[in-house]
């Protein structure tokens, strides 16, 4: 058979699960290495891959590892349906199909010389973690690095021990939950309430926001109210995706394709689209 001019972008590469770590009742972090050996695919913070579970389906999952460590890919996945269940219940040694990386990246470079504030809601911390790693790699070139992290309840928080390590590495880490019992010693309330108290210089701040869409709208508006220009606030959007190539048509949000024009968008550009129901 003649070699096609262009290789199929739909064909995944097999990756083996080398480590499984349960984060919460329904969320796992998987470390993956190419089944054929060699380095894993290189990516920028904020990008995602399409993850294929044999016979079950394929879903877009943000990369949540360190972009400077090319030996393995890290994905934090929450069980939300048949495909994610197949992915999360795969044993160590099991194989997934991976293709990518796709999408736009968090503009960590743009934050250099100023403050970086990261606002994460729920599993939204997973796509932001690579940005935090990238920021820590250039810590001296940044002013304040602040992490505002909100979850539903204490048992739903991700990356617990790592939050402490980040504090030690010079990140102002503030964690809050929507609800908790009396054993929780930290703040209770929505993550947007942390913005007022966070102590960053709004004129030199770049804000990265990721979480449920409602949370992102409120948080982005909160940053703007605090004086951060809307062109310096960035969101990561999510839509149904089957191809990640801009060809299946499903991830459209008005004129943009979330898979290629996003998922990271500047708030000033995406805000009018977010305001329209059923767009």
């Amino acid at each position: 058979m003649a070699e096609p001019a262009t290789a199929s972008h739909f064909l995944p590469e097999p990756y083996r699960v080398v480590r499984r770590h349960r984060e919460t009742a329904d969320t796992w972090t998987l470390d993956l290495e190419p089944a054929a050996g060699g380095d894993a695919l290189a990516f920028a913070p904020g990008q995602f891959t399409m993850v294929y579970a044999f016979g079950a389906g394929e879903v877009p999952i943000s990369l949540s590892g360190d972009p400077a460590r090319p030996e393995r890919l890290v994905h934090t996945v929450r069980i939300a349906g048949a495909t994610t269940r197949a992915i999360c219940t795969l044993d160590r040694g099991g194989v997934l199909g991976i293709r990518g990386p796709y999408g736009t990246a968090w503009p960590v470079d743009r934050a250099l010389g100023g403050d970086l504030v990261i606002a994460a809601g729920g599993i939204g911390l997973a796509p932001l973690r690579p940005a935090l790693y990238a920021a820590l790699a250039r810590r001296e070139e940044l002013g304040r690095v602040v992490l505002l992290y909100g979850g539903r309840s204490p048992d739903q928080l991700l990356y617990g021990p790592e939050l402490e390590r980040w504090r030690a590495a010079g990140v102002d880490v503030h964690v809050t939950v929507d609800r908790a019992g009396r054993e929780w010693r930290g703040p209770i309330g929505v993550v947007t309430t942390l913005i007022e108290r966070a102590g960053f210089d709004p004129e030199r701040t770049t804000a990265l926001v990721c979480g449920p869409e409602v949370m992102m709208r409120f948080a982005a508006a909160g940053f703007v109210r605090a004086g951060v220009g809307a062109e310096r606030v960035f969101l990561s959007m999510e839509r149904n995706m089957k191809c990640a190539l801009g060809q299946c048509g499903r991830c459209q949000l008005g004129p943009v394709f979330v898979c290629g024009d996003g998922p990271v968008f500047r708030y000033s550009e995406i805000e009018p689209l977010l305001a329209v129901p059923e767009l």
Partner: protein
Amino acid sequence: MKVLDPRGLEALLEALVERGYRLIGPTVADGAIVYEEIRSIADLPAGWTDEQEAGTYRLRRRDDDALFGYAVGPQSWKRVLHPPSVTLFRARRDGDGGMELVDGAEEPEPLAFIGVRSCDLHAIARLDRVLLGGRFVDAAYEARRGRVFVVAVNCGVAASTCFCVSMETGPRATSGYDVALTELLEDGDRHYLAEAGTGRGEELLAELPGREATAGEVEAGEQVVERTAASMGRELDTEGLPELLAASRDHPRWDEVADRCLTCGNCTMVCPTCFCTTVEDVTDLAGTEAERRQVWDSCFTLDFTYLHGGGVRTSPRGRYRHWLTHKLGTWHDQFGSSGCVGCGRCIAWCPVGIDITEEAAALREAPE
């Protein structure tokens, strides 16, 4: 420009077969003119025409035996170039927990499209833009596309649903073909003006029986196209349309059309530029072999925008608004041109007769 007689046209088809092409062309089937494999001019819809209106398509007999005396039917060339079902890859589990993944692409066979109308030439160019001209090339589409020989036909008939003139996509074929024909009917005789659009079209025409066209015949060919252009059934004013649509998200017309729209998706199936797909995964009973297929989908399906337990866009109003706004508006942002080529298929094949030209005009009216 050359003139072919009916023997010349048959010779054209034979020459293509000889070069190894399988012929796909118009033929009558199930009460419509569809694009299927044809063997000779005997398979073409001689003496047939189509009567089309909103929600209506009927074949009628002509009082001559023109081979191309009709507009377009429910199918477009998208069915061949971007097929309804394509195997993307096959996966096989091996003994030690591994997975072997094999591209599902097959060597595409050479195809000759016979009788491609100008609107459909533009539609093919739009699909090229989406599937070849974006961030990623669809390799299977590229392979199929590269093995196609195009014989276009300049329209001698416009249906009442046609509006290619408004969309600047016809009726004259201007690019994207190897050979373009114009059917001339005179005193019961059929002649074909033929011009080449490519080097290989040139080579093919040189082999066929015929002669140089006279000035009168060239003029007659012009008049065929002019008459067709003058008899367009509908118009669509495209002036400022993308901006208008972007500013009209709350226009009451959306509620009005939503009352009529069945969200059946016929429009997306017959539209030659609708490209949306979904994927299906199938496995064998033993669970050792799996296949992933790309299949046609429509933005009118309820789970098109499924996310986190529900759809983002589920009301008929939302879904119709998306389809129209994409086709006439955001296509420009994404691909630099309109998605509509004025073929009118969506008007004829909508079971409730929703008319894209009427909707576009209604959206221009200020809401009361």
